[in-house]
């Protein structure tokens, strides 16, 4: 017997079909997903060790740069904690991030924006949370960029984040936005999230206490994953 994860609150997440985000129209299932209790297949998941990380994996300013060079743009630290819905820290949790450069341009063949590539910026990084669920990476603040949706839609500055918890049921990809950005409230992708309250949880706060003087500003971004139900009774059933 295992303890399942709490059910996902689908009213809190974006629905599959959100016509203002046009690509969702042909890519959204029409049937409702079928509810089923999690089993070991969803309660377990791949485990990643700190030994897999390279020294520069969480430093997007230098991890793609030529020796002695650095990416161009406002230097920032992103720090936060991964916790579950019960507030428990989630240690050993792999975070993969990707983003546009400071000009809003991605390093990708299909990217159509005319802003230039930064030869010293790849746009990917990763880290693993420590025993207390804490993580940190260093990067440049990404620029906003226009994208083909409506005739004049722009993405607010954002960093994409992929998160592994301890079970495949917790698997999550989301985006981090920046406090004070007016473009957040005009974006059709942000707008797929039904409530302002939920959107606010994706807005990283400027954290002056965490900044490095004369070097980098700090943004704080906490991530919450689905919680594992755990009661004494359920634990007894596991054959204690």
């Amino acid at each position: 017997m295992t303890n399942g994860f709490t059910a996902r609150d689908r009213a809190w997440h974006p629905p599959a079909l959100t016509p203002l985000y046009k690509t969702s129209v042909a890519r959204s299932p029409r049937f409702a997903p079928i509810g089923a209790a999690t089993s070991l297949s969803e309660e377990t998941g791949p485990v990643f060790g700190h030994d897999m990380l390279g020294a520069k994996d969480n430093d997007l300013i230098t991890n793609f740069a030529a020796p002695g060079e650095m990416a161009i743009g406002p230097r920032i630290l992103v720090q936060g904690r991964v916790r579950d819905e019960f507030g428990r820290p989630v240690p050993h949790c792999l975070l993969e991030v990707w983003q546009a450069n400071a000009g809003g341009r991605y390093r990708h063949k299909k990217e159509g924006y005319l802003a230039p590539l930064d030869p010293n910026f790849g746009g990917c990084g990763r880290c693993i949370t420590d025993e207390n669920g804490f993580y940190e990476f260093r990067t440049v603040k990404p620029g906003p960029y226009p994208w083909p949706n409506g005739p004049d839609d722009w993405r607010p500055a954002h960093i994409h984040v992929s998160v592994f918890g301890h079970g495949f049921a917790q698997r999550l990809i989301t985006q981090m936005y920046f406090e004070g950005d007016p473009m957040i409230w005009q974006c059709p992708i942000v707008g797929t999230i039904p409530t302002r309250e939920a959107i606010e949880t994706l807005v990283a706060r400027l954290d002056r206490a965490g900044s490095i003087p004369m070097d980098a500003l700090c943004y704080r971004f906490d991530i919450t994953l689905r919680g594992r139900r755990q009661t004494m009774f359920e634990n007894r059933m596991e054959g204690m």
């Binding site: 299932p29 297949s41 793609f64």
Partner: protein, 216 residues
């Protein structure tokens, strides 16, 4: 104050319920993986080289685990019948004995794979072993299956589904999830058939053969 609870089955990752009556948080809301998910998750595939030695999830078999070697191939197909070329597909499965990596699974088998799909056809390929049977929460054996998770531009919340094997008729007939599905006519959307040496599992996001997705 009760002693901290022992994590189950030697799982090093579960935490004791230090504050079962404490504050609750909402899960971070999902956002689409967007068109550039491969930059973050499979950068070498895109030619962003030198950051990571290899893309994660490229090899599911890293040693010589027991079990039948199989290949899984498929595509993710949208409502207009086009194969997605910007999806990221992840799989997670038990080893041939029904055990998961990190929980007594076979040496040399990661159980996890990730594919960006082929650049021109969108077809994903996983070289793996055929999974054994895993117990359901009530202890009954489930039919062999591979758990899939699909993200892409236009998908607002990652889609969970399961691939079962068409040639496991007896096990499928008693699988606790398959047998509980109300629209039994849709069950074949979860069954992979062997075609030319590979199990084929096409995932239809919409349409007549819309794949069953799970709220799991």
């Amino acid at each position: 104050m009760a002693a901290p609870l022992t994590p189950s089955m030697g799982n090093p990752l579960s935490n004791p319920p230090s504050n079962p009556l404490g504050e609750r948080f909402k899960e971070s809301p999902s956002q689409t993986a967007g068109p550039y998910v491969h930059i973050g998750c499979t950068p070498n595939f895109l030619g962003i080289e030198g950051v990571y030695p290899e893309d994660l999830g490229t090899r599911m078999i890293t040693g010589n685990p027991d079990g039948e070697r199989i290949t899984i191939k498929g595509r993710v197909i949208d409502g207009a019948g086009n194969a997605l070329k910007d999806a990221l597909i992840e799989v997670w499965q038990a080893d041939a004995a029904g055990k998961f990596a990190g929980r007594g699974g076979a040496e040399g088998f990661a159980g996890w794979g990730r594919s960006p799909g082929d650049m021109t056809t969108g077809e994903f390929t996983f070289e793996t072993v055929k999974p054994g049977r895993v117990p359901a929460p009530d202890g009954r054996p489930q039919a062999p299956h591979v758990t899939f998770w699909i993200v892409a531009r236009g998908i607002n919340l990652g889609l969970h589904t399961r691939m079962y094997f068409a040639d496991e008729e007896a096990a499928n007939a008693e699988d606790p999830i398959l047998t509980r599905i109300e629209h039994q006519s849709r069950v074949p959307t979860l069954l992979a058939k062997k075609e030319g040496g590979a199990y084929r599992f096409d995932i239809h996001l919409q349409g007549e053969n819309e794949t069953i997705f799970f709220d799991i």
